[in-house]
Protein backbone atom coordinates (compact mmCIF):
# COMPACT_ATOMS: atom_id res chain seq x y z
CA UNK A 1 0.00 0.00 0.00
CA UNK A 2 1.27 3.46 -0.81
CA UNK A 3 -0.17 6.88 -0.07
CA UNK A 4 1.04 9.69 -2.31
CA UNK A 5 0.45 13.41 -2.45
CA UNK A 6 1.68 15.09 -5.62
CA UNK A 7 1.83 18.81 -6.38
CA UNK A 8 -0.66 19.61 -3.63
CA UNK A 9 -1.51 23.27 -3.14
CA UNK A 10 -4.21 24.78 -1.01
CA UNK A 11 -4.91 28.13 0.63
CA UNK A 12 -6.77 28.83 3.84
CA UNK A 13 -7.05 32.52 4.65
CA UNK A 14 -3.53 33.92 4.79
CA UNK A 15 -1.96 30.48 5.00
CA UNK A 16 -0.95 28.53 1.94
CA UNK A 17 0.24 24.94 1.83
CA UNK A 18 2.48 23.59 -0.90
CA UNK A 19 3.37 22.96 -3.59
CA UNK A 20 3.94 19.75 -1.72
CA UNK A 21 4.66 16.16 -2.65
CA UNK A 22 5.00 13.26 -0.24
CA UNK A 23 4.95 9.52 -0.70
CA UNK A 24 4.31 7.31 2.30
CA UNK A 25 4.84 3.57 2.08
CA UNK A 26 3.78 0.99 4.67
CA UNK A 27 5.31 1.92 8.00
CA UNK A 28 5.18 5.04 10.11
CA UNK A 29 6.11 8.43 8.71
CA UNK A 30 6.04 11.24 11.23
CA UNK A 31 5.35 14.69 9.88
CA UNK A 32 7.23 17.05 12.14
CA UNK A 33 6.65 20.77 12.16
CA UNK A 34 5.87 23.71 14.43
CA UNK A 35 2.30 24.87 14.99
CA UNK A 36 1.00 26.74 11.99
CA UNK A 37 3.21 24.81 9.57
CA UNK A 38 0.20 23.13 7.95
CA UNK A 39 0.37 19.70 9.58
CA UNK A 40 -3.35 19.41 10.28
CA UNK A 41 -4.22 20.78 6.85
CA UNK A 42 -2.04 18.08 5.33
CA UNK A 43 -3.98 15.37 7.18
CA UNK A 44 -7.30 16.97 6.28
CA UNK A 45 -6.28 16.80 2.61
CA UNK A 46 -5.54 13.10 2.97
CA UNK A 47 -8.69 12.33 4.95
CA UNK A 48 -10.95 14.40 2.72
CA UNK A 49 -11.87 17.34 4.94
CA UNK A 50 -10.02 19.79 2.72
CA UNK A 51 -10.00 19.94 -1.07
CA UNK A 52 -6.69 20.83 -2.73
CA UNK A 53 -6.69 23.65 -5.26
CA UNK A 54 -4.30 21.59 -7.34
CA UNK A 55 -2.48 18.29 -7.14
CA UNK A 56 -3.55 14.72 -6.45
CA UNK A 57 -3.88 12.34 -3.52
CA UNK A 58 -3.59 8.67 -4.45
CA UNK A 59 -3.91 5.52 -2.38
CA UNK A 60 -2.33 2.49 -4.00
CA UNK A 61 -2.37 4.30 -7.33
CA UNK A 62 -6.08 5.22 -7.17
CA UNK A 63 -6.98 8.88 -6.93
CA UNK A 64 -8.97 9.63 -3.80
CA UNK A 65 -8.88 13.43 -3.78
CA UNK A 66 -12.33 13.64 -5.39
CA UNK A 67 -13.94 11.30 -2.85
CA UNK A 68 -15.86 12.41 0.25
CA UNK A 69 -14.25 11.45 3.59
CA UNK A 70 -16.58 8.49 4.16
CA UNK A 71 -15.54 6.85 0.89
CA UNK A 72 -11.75 7.09 1.29
CA UNK A 73 -11.15 4.42 3.91
CA UNK A 74 -8.40 6.53 5.41
CA UNK A 75 -8.63 6.21 9.18
CA UNK A 76 -8.03 9.34 11.22
CA UNK A 77 -7.23 9.70 14.89
CA UNK A 78 -8.11 13.19 16.06
CA UNK A 79 -6.14 15.38 18.42
CA UNK A 80 -8.47 15.04 21.41
CA UNK A 81 -9.68 11.56 20.43
CA UNK A 82 -13.13 12.84 19.33
CA UNK A 83 -15.01 10.06 21.10
CA UNK A 84 -18.79 10.38 20.86
CA UNK A 85 -19.89 11.46 24.33
CA UNK A 86 -23.42 10.10 23.94
CA UNK A 87 -22.17 6.57 23.25
CA UNK A 88 -20.39 4.04 25.46
CA UNK A 89 -16.89 2.83 24.62
CA UNK A 90 -18.31 -0.32 22.99
CA UNK A 91 -20.79 1.76 20.97
CA UNK A 92 -17.96 4.05 19.86
CA UNK A 93 -16.00 1.02 18.69
CA UNK A 94 -18.93 -0.33 16.70
CA UNK A 95 -19.89 3.07 15.27
CA UNK A 96 -17.97 2.67 12.02
CA UNK A 97 -17.37 -1.07 12.06
CA UNK A 98 -19.16 -3.01 9.34
CA UNK A 99 -21.84 -5.43 10.55
CA UNK A 100 -20.31 -8.57 12.02
CA UNK A 101 -16.84 -7.09 12.53
CA UNK A 102 -14.87 -8.85 15.22
CA UNK A 103 -13.55 -6.11 17.44
CA UNK A 104 -12.10 -8.50 20.03
CA UNK A 105 -8.61 -8.64 18.52
CA UNK A 106 -8.27 -4.86 18.40
CA UNK A 107 -9.69 -4.54 21.91
CA UNK A 108 -7.05 -7.00 23.16
CA UNK A 109 -4.20 -5.38 21.26
CA UNK A 110 -4.99 -1.98 22.75
CA UNK A 111 -5.75 -3.32 26.21
CA UNK A 112 -9.19 -1.73 26.49
CA UNK A 113 -11.31 -4.79 27.34
CA UNK A 114 -12.08 -3.36 30.79
CA UNK A 115 -13.34 -0.11 29.32
CA UNK A 116 -16.05 -1.39 26.98
CA UNK A 117 -19.03 -0.59 29.21
CA UNK A 118 -17.66 2.75 30.35
CA UNK A 119 -19.08 6.15 29.53
CA UNK A 120 -16.43 7.87 27.37
CA UNK A 121 -16.58 10.99 29.52
CA UNK A 122 -15.13 9.02 32.45
CA UNK A 123 -12.01 7.86 30.59
CA UNK A 124 -8.53 9.20 31.27
CA UNK A 125 -6.59 10.93 28.50
CA UNK A 126 -4.56 7.83 27.75
CA UNK A 127 -7.64 5.59 27.70
CA UNK A 128 -9.37 7.98 25.34
CA UNK A 129 -6.46 7.74 22.89
CA UNK A 130 -6.47 3.95 22.99
CA UNK A 131 -10.21 3.80 22.34
CA UNK A 132 -9.93 6.36 19.52
CA UNK A 133 -7.22 4.31 17.83
CA UNK A 134 -9.19 1.09 18.31
CA UNK A 135 -12.32 2.73 16.87
CA UNK A 136 -10.38 3.59 13.72
CA UNK A 137 -8.55 0.26 13.44
CA UNK A 138 -11.75 -1.83 13.56
CA UNK A 139 -12.81 -0.17 10.28
CA UNK A 140 -9.76 -1.82 8.66
CA UNK A 141 -8.47 1.39 7.00
CA UNK A 142 -6.21 1.35 3.92
CA UNK A 143 -4.14 4.17 5.44
CA UNK A 144 -4.04 5.80 8.84
CA UNK A 145 -3.40 9.41 9.80
CA UNK A 146 -2.96 10.65 13.37
CA UNK A 147 -3.21 14.34 14.26
CA UNK A 148 -0.99 15.04 17.28
CA UNK A 149 -2.73 12.23 19.16
CA UNK A 150 -0.72 12.70 22.36
CA UNK A 151 -0.26 16.45 22.42
CA UNK A 152 -2.68 17.27 25.25
CA UNK A 153 -1.49 14.52 27.60
CA UNK A 154 0.81 14.90 30.58
CA UNK A 155 4.46 14.19 29.84
CA UNK A 156 4.81 10.82 31.68
CA UNK A 157 1.68 9.37 30.05
CA UNK A 158 2.78 10.76 26.70
CA UNK A 159 6.18 9.08 26.98
CA UNK A 160 4.65 5.72 27.87
CA UNK A 161 1.87 5.86 25.33
CA UNK A 162 4.10 6.75 22.42
CA UNK A 163 6.00 3.49 22.85
CA UNK A 164 2.73 1.54 22.95
CA UNK A 165 1.52 3.47 19.92
CA UNK A 166 4.67 2.68 18.04
CA UNK A 167 4.24 -1.03 18.73
CA UNK A 168 0.64 -1.07 17.52
CA UNK A 169 1.23 1.13 14.48
CA UNK A 170 4.33 -0.68 13.28
CA UNK A 171 2.33 -3.94 13.15
CA UNK A 172 -0.07 -2.44 10.61
CA UNK A 173 0.50 -3.16 6.94
CA UNK A 174 -0.70 0.25 5.81
CA UNK A 175 0.91 3.67 5.39
CA UNK A 176 0.72 5.63 8.64
CA UNK A 177 1.15 9.41 8.77
CA UNK A 178 1.73 10.63 12.30
CA UNK A 179 1.76 14.37 12.81
CA UNK A 180 3.55 15.94 15.76
CA UNK A 181 5.40 19.08 16.77
CA UNK A 182 7.45 17.12 19.31
CA UNK A 183 10.87 16.13 17.94
CA UNK A 184 11.44 13.34 20.42
CA UNK A 185 8.03 11.89 19.68
CA UNK A 186 8.73 12.11 15.95
CA UNK A 187 11.99 10.23 16.45
CA UNK A 188 10.56 7.58 18.78
CA UNK A 189 7.36 6.82 16.86
CA UNK A 190 8.49 7.21 13.26
CA UNK A 191 10.47 5.02 10.89
CA UNK A 192 10.78 8.00 8.62
CA UNK A 193 10.39 11.72 9.23
CA UNK A 194 9.10 14.48 6.96
CA UNK A 195 9.88 17.99 8.16
CA UNK A 196 7.06 20.41 7.34
CA UNK A 197 7.93 24.09 7.69
CA UNK A 198 5.76 26.97 6.55
CA UNK A 199 3.57 24.81 4.34
CA UNK A 200 6.40 23.02 2.60
CA UNK A 201 8.02 19.62 3.11
CA UNK A 202 11.66 20.60 3.55
CA UNK A 203 13.21 17.19 4.10
CA UNK A 204 12.21 13.54 4.28
CA UNK A 205 14.33 10.60 5.32
CA UNK A 206 14.94 8.08 8.03
CA UNK A 207 14.90 9.38 11.58
CA UNK A 208 18.71 9.18 11.82
CA UNK A 209 19.20 10.77 8.46
CA UNK A 210 17.01 13.80 9.16
CA UNK A 211 18.13 14.48 12.73
CA UNK A 212 21.83 13.93 12.11
CA UNK A 213 22.03 15.57 8.75
CA UNK A 214 19.53 18.37 8.28
CA UNK A 215 19.31 19.36 4.65
CA UNK A 216 19.06 23.13 4.99
CA UNK A 217 19.79 25.81 7.59
CA UNK A 218 16.04 26.25 8.10
CA UNK A 219 15.54 22.57 8.91
CA UNK A 220 18.69 22.65 11.05
CA UNK A 221 17.42 25.59 13.07
CA UNK A 222 14.07 23.87 13.61
CA UNK A 223 15.84 20.69 14.74
CA UNK A 224 17.83 22.52 17.38
CA UNK A 225 20.91 23.73 15.54
CA UNK A 226 20.54 27.14 17.12
CA UNK A 227 23.79 28.70 15.96
CA UNK A 228 23.94 29.49 12.26
CA UNK A 229 27.03 31.44 11.24
CA UNK A 230 28.48 32.73 8.01
CA UNK A 231 31.68 30.92 7.03
CA UNK A 232 34.19 30.48 4.23
CA UNK A 233 35.60 27.12 3.10
CA UNK A 234 39.42 27.45 3.24
CA UNK A 235 40.90 24.01 2.71
CA UNK A 236 39.82 20.48 1.82
CA UNK A 237 41.78 17.70 3.49
CA UNK A 238 41.97 13.99 2.79
CA UNK A 239 38.86 12.14 3.67
CA UNK A 240 35.86 14.04 4.91
CA UNK A 241 37.60 16.89 6.67
CA UNK A 242 37.34 20.55 5.74
CA UNK A 243 38.81 23.71 7.24
CA UNK A 244 36.26 26.49 7.56
CA UNK A 245 36.87 30.08 8.57
CA UNK A 246 34.21 31.57 10.83
CA UNK A 247 34.81 35.06 12.12
CA UNK A 248 38.41 35.38 13.11
CA UNK A 249 38.88 31.65 13.76
CA UNK A 250 39.33 28.57 11.64
CA UNK A 251 37.77 25.27 12.61
CA UNK A 252 37.99 21.74 11.30
CA UNK A 253 34.79 20.11 10.20
CA UNK A 254 34.34 16.38 9.69
CA UNK A 255 32.29 16.83 6.57
CA UNK A 256 33.23 16.86 2.91
CA UNK A 257 32.25 20.03 1.09
CA UNK A 258 31.83 19.91 -2.67
CA UNK A 259 34.59 21.52 -4.72
CA UNK A 260 33.80 24.99 -5.94
CA UNK A 261 31.83 25.94 -2.87
CA UNK A 262 33.38 28.75 -0.88
CA UNK A 263 30.67 30.48 1.06
CA UNK A 264 28.68 28.38 3.50
CA UNK A 265 26.36 28.61 6.47
CA UNK A 266 27.82 26.79 9.44
CA UNK A 267 25.45 25.17 11.90
CA UNK A 268 26.53 24.51 15.48
CA UNK A 269 24.33 22.67 17.96
CA UNK A 270 24.47 24.26 21.43
CA UNK A 271 25.73 20.97 22.85
CA UNK A 272 28.62 20.93 20.35
CA UNK A 273 30.22 23.91 22.10
CA UNK A 274 32.52 22.82 24.92
CA UNK A 275 34.12 25.04 27.55
CA UNK A 276 37.84 24.31 27.58
CA UNK A 277 39.16 27.42 29.33
CA UNK A 278 42.39 27.87 27.39
CA UNK A 279 43.61 28.07 23.77
CA UNK A 280 45.60 24.82 23.91
CA UNK A 281 42.93 22.91 22.09
CA UNK A 282 42.01 22.56 18.45
CA UNK A 283 38.88 24.06 17.00
CA UNK A 284 38.62 26.83 19.53
CA UNK A 285 36.88 30.17 19.54
CA UNK A 286 37.53 33.06 21.94
CA UNK A 287 34.26 34.19 23.49
CA UNK A 288 32.82 36.53 26.11
CA UNK A 289 30.29 34.94 28.46
CA UNK A 290 27.20 37.15 28.44
CA UNK A 291 24.76 35.20 30.56
CA UNK A 292 24.37 31.84 32.27
CA UNK A 293 20.77 30.60 32.48
CA UNK A 294 20.39 27.55 34.77
CA UNK A 295 17.91 24.91 33.56
CA UNK A 296 16.61 21.48 34.59
CA UNK A 297 19.53 19.44 33.25
CA UNK A 298 22.46 21.78 32.90
CA UNK A 299 22.49 25.39 31.79
CA UNK A 300 22.19 27.53 28.68
CA UNK A 301 25.11 29.90 28.23
CA UNK A 302 24.88 32.91 25.95
CA UNK A 303 28.21 33.86 24.39
CA UNK A 304 29.54 36.68 22.21
CA UNK A 305 32.22 35.39 19.86
CA UNK A 306 34.68 37.74 18.21
CA UNK A 307 33.30 38.77 14.85
CA UNK A 308 30.47 36.22 15.00
CA UNK A 309 27.80 37.73 17.20
CA UNK A 310 25.88 35.72 19.75
CA UNK A 311 26.22 31.95 20.24
CA UNK A 312 24.13 29.67 22.41
CA UNK A 313 25.85 26.82 24.26
CA UNK A 314 24.32 24.09 26.40
CA UNK A 315 26.40 22.63 29.18
CA UNK A 316 26.15 20.43 32.27
CA UNK A 317 25.69 21.84 35.78
CA UNK A 318 29.32 21.37 36.86
CA UNK A 319 30.68 23.25 33.88
CA UNK A 320 28.02 25.93 34.26
CA UNK A 321 29.16 26.57 37.83
CA UNK A 322 32.66 27.24 36.57
CA UNK A 323 31.48 29.78 34.00
CA UNK A 324 30.76 33.35 35.04
CA UNK A 325 28.93 36.06 33.15
CA UNK A 326 31.35 38.76 31.99
CA UNK A 327 34.43 36.55 31.76
CA UNK A 328 36.41 35.90 28.61
CA UNK A 329 37.05 32.25 27.86
CA UNK A 330 37.69 29.73 25.14
CA UNK A 331 35.28 27.18 23.73
CA UNK A 332 36.06 24.21 21.52
CA UNK A 333 33.81 23.02 18.73
CA UNK A 334 33.16 19.30 18.21
CA UNK A 335 34.19 18.76 14.55
CA UNK A 336 31.70 15.92 14.15
CA UNK A 337 28.79 18.11 15.21
CA UNK A 338 29.22 20.93 12.73
CA UNK A 339 26.90 21.18 9.73
CA UNK A 340 28.08 22.95 6.58
CA UNK A 341 25.35 24.25 4.25
CA UNK A 342 26.69 25.60 0.94
CA UNK A 343 25.19 29.04 0.42
CA UNK A 344 23.06 29.78 -2.59
CA UNK A 345 20.55 27.00 -1.93
CA UNK A 346 16.96 28.05 -2.04
CA UNK A 347 16.73 28.65 1.69
CA UNK A 348 20.42 29.16 2.38
CA UNK A 349 21.03 32.15 4.57
Amino acid sequence: MSLALAGIETTRGDFSLGPLSLTVEDGITTVLGPSGAGKSTLLELIAGFETPESGTVTLDGERIDGLPPEKRNVGMVFQDAALFPHLSVAENLRFGAPEGTDVEGTVRTLGIADLLDRDTTTLSGGERRRVALARTLVTDPDALVLDEPLSSLDAPIRRRLRLDLRDVLSDLDVPVVYVTHDQEEAAVVGDRVAVLLDGTICQTGTVGNVFDDPATPTVARFLGVENLLEGTVRERHDGEVTTVEIGESTVLVEEAVDAGIEQATIGLRPAAIEFVGGPDWENTLAVDVERVVPGRNGATVLLAADGLGRLTARTDDRTAEAVTAGERTTVAIDPTAIHVFPRGRADGR
Partner: protein, 298 residues
Protein backbone atom coordinates in the same frame (compact mmCIF):
# COMPACT_ATOMS: atom_id res chain seq x y z
CA UNK B 1 -22.02 20.92 27.25
CA UNK B 2 -25.04 21.06 25.01
CA UNK B 3 -27.97 21.04 27.40
CA UNK B 4 -29.64 24.18 28.60
CA UNK B 5 -28.48 25.65 31.86
CA UNK B 6 -30.70 26.92 34.64
CA UNK B 7 -30.48 30.41 33.14
CA UNK B 8 -33.18 29.26 30.73
CA UNK B 9 -35.66 29.52 33.54
CA UNK B 10 -35.17 33.25 33.41
CA UNK B 11 -35.92 33.27 29.73
CA UNK B 12 -39.41 31.88 29.96
CA UNK B 13 -41.74 34.76 29.29
CA UNK B 14 -45.21 34.30 28.03
CA UNK B 15 -45.51 37.86 26.93
CA UNK B 16 -49.06 39.03 27.02
CA UNK B 17 -50.47 41.93 25.10
CA UNK B 18 -47.58 44.17 26.08
CA UNK B 19 -44.12 42.65 26.52
CA UNK B 20 -40.83 44.42 26.29
CA UNK B 21 -38.41 43.59 23.52
CA UNK B 22 -35.71 42.61 25.99
CA UNK B 23 -37.93 39.88 27.38
CA UNK B 24 -37.85 38.06 24.10
CA UNK B 25 -34.13 37.96 23.40
CA UNK B 26 -32.56 34.66 24.39
CA UNK B 27 -28.86 34.50 25.06
CA UNK B 28 -26.41 31.71 24.29
CA UNK B 29 -27.51 28.53 25.95
CA UNK B 30 -23.95 27.66 26.80
CA UNK B 31 -23.92 30.28 29.51
CA UNK B 32 -24.36 29.04 33.01
CA UNK B 33 -25.48 31.06 35.94
CA UNK B 34 -25.36 28.55 38.74
CA UNK B 35 -21.95 29.26 40.24
CA UNK B 36 -22.10 30.32 43.85
CA UNK B 37 -20.03 33.15 45.26
CA UNK B 38 -18.36 31.62 48.28
CA UNK B 39 -15.36 33.87 48.75
CA UNK B 40 -14.77 34.85 52.36
CA UNK B 41 -15.40 38.35 53.66
CA UNK B 42 -17.15 41.21 51.82
CA UNK B 43 -20.46 40.23 53.41
CA UNK B 44 -21.74 43.78 53.18
CA UNK B 45 -21.16 43.94 49.44
CA UNK B 46 -22.84 40.59 48.93
CA UNK B 47 -25.84 41.81 50.91
CA UNK B 48 -26.21 44.85 48.65
CA UNK B 49 -26.14 42.66 45.56
CA UNK B 50 -28.67 40.27 47.09
CA UNK B 51 -30.97 43.13 48.09
CA UNK B 52 -30.95 44.57 44.58
CA UNK B 53 -31.87 41.14 43.22
CA UNK B 54 -34.58 40.76 45.83
CA UNK B 55 -36.26 43.97 44.66
CA UNK B 56 -36.71 42.51 41.21
CA UNK B 57 -37.89 39.16 42.55
CA UNK B 58 -40.55 41.00 44.59
CA UNK B 59 -41.59 42.98 41.54
CA UNK B 60 -41.82 39.85 39.37
CA UNK B 61 -43.73 37.77 41.90
CA UNK B 62 -45.87 40.54 43.39
CA UNK B 63 -48.38 40.88 40.55
CA UNK B 64 -48.98 37.12 40.45
CA UNK B 65 -49.58 37.04 44.16
CA UNK B 66 -51.84 40.11 43.97
CA UNK B 67 -53.85 38.53 41.16
CA UNK B 68 -54.32 35.25 43.00
CA UNK B 69 -55.15 37.02 46.29
CA UNK B 70 -57.78 39.12 44.57
CA UNK B 71 -59.36 36.45 42.41
CA UNK B 72 -58.33 33.10 43.86
CA UNK B 73 -58.33 29.99 41.73
CA UNK B 74 -61.19 29.57 39.27
CA UNK B 75 -63.85 26.94 39.90
CA UNK B 76 -64.21 24.16 37.31
CA UNK B 77 -67.44 25.83 36.32
CA UNK B 78 -65.53 28.88 35.10
CA UNK B 79 -64.21 26.74 32.26
CA UNK B 80 -67.75 25.88 31.13
CA UNK B 81 -68.04 29.18 29.29
CA UNK B 82 -68.08 28.21 25.58
CA UNK B 83 -65.87 31.19 24.69
CA UNK B 84 -63.25 30.07 27.22
CA UNK B 85 -63.41 26.48 26.00
CA UNK B 86 -63.14 27.42 22.38
CA UNK B 87 -60.13 29.66 23.15
CA UNK B 88 -58.40 26.79 24.99
CA UNK B 89 -59.10 24.43 22.07
CA UNK B 90 -57.83 27.00 19.56
CA UNK B 91 -54.59 27.49 21.48
CA UNK B 92 -54.04 23.79 22.09
CA UNK B 93 -54.57 23.01 18.41
CA UNK B 94 -52.53 25.84 16.90
CA UNK B 95 -49.55 26.12 19.24
CA UNK B 96 -48.39 22.49 18.72
CA UNK B 97 -48.77 22.86 14.94
CA UNK B 98 -46.72 26.08 15.00
CA UNK B 99 -44.11 24.37 17.18
CA UNK B 100 -43.96 21.41 14.81
CA UNK B 101 -43.49 23.71 11.80
CA UNK B 102 -40.81 25.69 13.63
CA UNK B 103 -38.98 22.45 14.51
CA UNK B 104 -39.18 20.81 11.09
CA UNK B 105 -37.82 23.87 9.33
CA UNK B 106 -35.92 25.48 12.19
CA UNK B 107 -33.59 22.62 13.15
CA UNK B 108 -32.07 22.33 9.65
CA UNK B 109 -31.77 26.12 9.47
CA UNK B 110 -30.07 26.17 12.87
CA UNK B 111 -27.60 23.54 11.65
CA UNK B 112 -26.84 25.47 8.48
CA UNK B 113 -26.24 28.66 10.48
CA UNK B 114 -24.00 26.85 12.97
CA UNK B 115 -21.93 24.86 10.51
CA UNK B 116 -21.86 26.35 7.03
CA UNK B 117 -20.03 29.42 5.80
CA UNK B 118 -21.62 31.28 2.92
CA UNK B 119 -22.07 34.75 1.53
CA UNK B 120 -24.83 36.67 3.28
CA UNK B 121 -24.79 34.47 6.39
CA UNK B 122 -24.67 37.42 8.79
CA UNK B 123 -27.61 39.05 7.05
CA UNK B 124 -29.56 35.81 7.23
CA UNK B 125 -28.77 35.49 10.94
CA UNK B 126 -30.03 39.03 11.50
CA UNK B 127 -33.23 38.33 9.56
CA UNK B 128 -33.88 35.15 11.54
CA UNK B 129 -33.82 36.97 14.87
CA UNK B 130 -35.74 39.99 13.56
CA UNK B 131 -39.08 38.64 14.83
CA UNK B 132 -37.49 38.40 18.28
CA UNK B 133 -36.54 42.03 18.44
CA UNK B 134 -39.54 43.61 16.75
CA UNK B 135 -42.91 43.87 18.52
CA UNK B 136 -45.20 40.98 17.54
CA UNK B 137 -47.80 43.45 16.35
CA UNK B 138 -45.30 44.60 13.71
CA UNK B 139 -44.95 40.94 12.74
CA UNK B 140 -48.73 40.86 12.38
CA UNK B 141 -48.72 43.85 10.03
CA UNK B 142 -46.03 42.38 7.76
CA UNK B 143 -47.78 39.00 7.78
CA UNK B 144 -51.02 40.66 6.67
CA UNK B 145 -49.05 42.29 3.85
CA UNK B 146 -47.78 38.89 2.74
CA UNK B 147 -50.71 36.59 3.45
CA UNK B 148 -53.74 38.92 3.78
CA UNK B 149 -56.98 38.24 1.93
CA UNK B 150 -56.15 40.64 -0.86
CA UNK B 151 -52.59 39.36 -1.47
CA UNK B 152 -51.91 36.84 -4.26
CA UNK B 153 -50.96 34.14 -1.74
CA UNK B 154 -53.96 34.92 0.42
CA UNK B 155 -56.30 34.81 -2.58
CA UNK B 156 -54.83 31.55 -3.87
CA UNK B 157 -55.06 29.88 -0.45
CA UNK B 158 -58.66 31.09 0.01
CA UNK B 159 -59.55 29.71 -3.41
CA UNK B 160 -58.20 26.33 -2.27
CA UNK B 161 -60.44 26.51 0.81
CA UNK B 162 -57.67 27.38 3.32
CA UNK B 163 -58.06 31.06 4.15
CA UNK B 164 -54.85 32.34 5.74
CA UNK B 165 -56.55 35.03 7.81
CA UNK B 166 -59.25 34.80 10.45
CA UNK B 167 -58.86 31.08 10.99
CA UNK B 168 -56.58 28.50 12.55
CA UNK B 169 -54.18 28.80 9.59
CA UNK B 170 -53.72 32.49 10.31
CA UNK B 171 -53.13 31.82 14.00
CA UNK B 172 -50.52 29.17 13.14
CA UNK B 173 -48.78 31.53 10.70
CA UNK B 174 -48.64 34.28 13.32
CA UNK B 175 -47.40 31.95 16.08
CA UNK B 176 -44.75 30.35 13.85
CA UNK B 177 -43.46 33.73 12.71
CA UNK B 178 -43.02 35.02 16.22
CA UNK B 179 -41.96 31.80 17.98
CA UNK B 180 -39.73 29.96 15.47
CA UNK B 181 -36.67 32.17 16.09
CA UNK B 182 -36.56 30.83 19.66
CA UNK B 183 -36.02 27.37 18.30
CA UNK B 184 -33.49 28.45 15.69
CA UNK B 185 -31.41 30.46 18.14
CA UNK B 186 -31.43 27.76 20.82
CA UNK B 187 -30.72 24.87 18.45
CA UNK B 188 -28.07 26.87 16.61
CA UNK B 189 -26.29 27.48 19.86
CA UNK B 190 -26.48 23.74 20.59
CA UNK B 191 -25.05 22.75 17.20
CA UNK B 192 -22.30 25.35 17.47
CA UNK B 193 -21.22 23.93 20.82
CA UNK B 194 -20.55 20.47 19.35
CA UNK B 195 -16.86 19.88 18.68
CA UNK B 196 -16.63 19.81 14.87
CA UNK B 197 -14.15 16.93 15.17
CA UNK B 198 -16.98 14.69 16.39
CA UNK B 199 -18.85 15.19 13.14
CA UNK B 200 -15.63 14.76 11.18
CA UNK B 201 -14.87 11.58 13.09
CA UNK B 202 -18.27 10.22 12.09
CA UNK B 203 -17.59 11.03 8.43
CA UNK B 204 -14.16 9.45 8.75
CA UNK B 205 -15.78 6.32 10.15
CA UNK B 206 -17.85 5.95 7.02
CA UNK B 207 -21.03 7.90 7.71
CA UNK B 208 -22.44 10.26 5.09
CA UNK B 209 -23.58 13.81 5.98
CA UNK B 210 -27.17 12.76 6.76
CA UNK B 211 -26.17 9.76 8.88
CA UNK B 212 -23.68 11.99 10.72
CA UNK B 213 -26.42 14.53 11.40
CA UNK B 214 -28.82 11.81 12.60
CA UNK B 215 -26.37 9.76 14.67
CA UNK B 216 -24.07 12.44 16.09
CA UNK B 217 -25.20 16.06 15.65
CA UNK B 218 -28.84 15.51 16.56
CA UNK B 219 -28.34 13.37 19.70
CA UNK B 220 -25.67 15.73 20.98
CA UNK B 221 -27.98 18.71 20.50
CA UNK B 222 -31.06 16.98 21.89
CA UNK B 223 -31.10 19.03 25.08
CA UNK B 224 -30.88 22.33 23.22
CA UNK B 225 -33.47 21.32 20.68
CA UNK B 226 -35.95 20.15 23.32
CA UNK B 227 -35.37 23.38 25.23
CA UNK B 228 -35.98 25.29 21.99
CA UNK B 229 -39.18 23.33 21.38
CA UNK B 230 -40.46 24.05 24.87
CA UNK B 231 -39.65 27.75 24.58
CA UNK B 232 -41.20 27.91 21.11
CA UNK B 233 -44.36 26.18 22.34
CA UNK B 234 -44.60 28.56 25.28
CA UNK B 235 -44.11 31.54 23.01
CA UNK B 236 -46.67 30.26 20.49
CA UNK B 237 -49.20 29.60 23.25
CA UNK B 238 -48.81 33.15 24.52
CA UNK B 239 -48.70 34.87 21.13
CA UNK B 240 -51.01 37.87 21.00
CA UNK B 241 -49.93 40.78 18.79
CA UNK B 242 -49.46 39.08 15.44
CA UNK B 243 -52.38 36.73 16.09
CA UNK B 244 -54.72 39.67 16.64
CA UNK B 245 -53.90 41.06 13.22
CA UNK B 246 -53.70 37.89 11.15
CA UNK B 247 -55.66 35.20 12.94
CA UNK B 248 -58.38 36.90 14.96
CA UNK B 249 -61.02 35.54 15.10
CA UNK B 250 -60.95 32.70 16.24
CA UNK B 251 -59.97 33.67 19.75
CA UNK B 252 -56.97 31.99 21.28
CA UNK B 253 -56.34 32.08 25.02
CA UNK B 254 -54.38 35.37 24.97
CA UNK B 255 -56.76 37.12 22.56
CA UNK B 256 -59.74 35.89 24.59
CA UNK B 257 -58.13 37.38 27.71
CA UNK B 258 -57.84 40.71 25.97
CA UNK B 259 -61.42 40.65 24.68
CA UNK B 260 -62.72 39.61 28.12
CA UNK B 261 -60.61 42.24 29.85
CA UNK B 262 -61.85 45.06 27.59
CA UNK B 263 -65.46 43.98 27.96
CA UNK B 264 -65.64 42.89 31.60
CA UNK B 265 -62.41 43.68 33.46
CA UNK B 266 -59.97 41.34 35.18
CA UNK B 267 -62.66 39.11 36.75
CA UNK B 268 -63.55 37.72 33.36
CA UNK B 269 -59.94 36.82 32.56
CA UNK B 270 -59.34 34.59 35.61
CA UNK B 271 -59.82 31.08 34.14
CA UNK B 272 -57.58 31.70 31.13
CA UNK B 273 -54.95 33.64 33.06
CA UNK B 274 -54.69 30.78 35.55
CA UNK B 275 -54.61 28.23 32.74
CA UNK B 276 -51.78 30.08 31.01
CA UNK B 277 -49.97 30.52 34.33
CA UNK B 278 -50.21 26.74 34.81
CA UNK B 279 -48.82 26.18 31.32
CA UNK B 280 -45.98 28.59 32.09
CA UNK B 281 -45.13 26.76 35.29
CA UNK B 282 -45.14 23.46 33.39
CA UNK B 283 -42.68 24.92 30.90
CA UNK B 284 -40.40 26.09 33.70
CA UNK B 285 -40.57 22.62 35.24
CA UNK B 286 -39.72 20.90 31.97
CA UNK B 287 -36.75 23.22 31.42
CA UNK B 288 -35.56 22.58 34.95
CA UNK B 289 -35.72 18.83 34.33
CA UNK B 290 -33.89 19.22 31.03
CA UNK B 291 -31.10 21.23 32.56
CA UNK B 292 -29.68 18.19 34.36
CA UNK B 293 -29.68 14.86 32.56
CA UNK B 294 -29.27 16.12 29.01
CA UNK B 295 -25.92 17.76 29.54
CA UNK B 296 -22.84 16.07 28.19
CA UNK B 297 -19.37 16.86 29.36
CA UNK B 298 -16.98 17.73 26.54
Amino acid sequence: MTGPGPWLLNRVRRDGPVASVADRVPVSITERGDRTLSTPGATGQRTVIALLGAVLVAYLLGPFVAFLLEHGLPTPGAFADPAVRSAIVASLVTAPVATLLATVFGVPLAYVLARYSFRGKRLLEALVVLPLVTPPVVGGVVLVSAFGRLTPIGKAAAALGVPLTQGYAGVVLAQTFVAAPFLVVTARSGFASIDADLERAARNLGKGPLATFREVSLPLTRGSIVAGIVLTFARALGEFGATMLLGHPPETMPTRIWVAFVAHGTDATVPLVVALLGAGLAVVLVLRLLAGPLEFSP
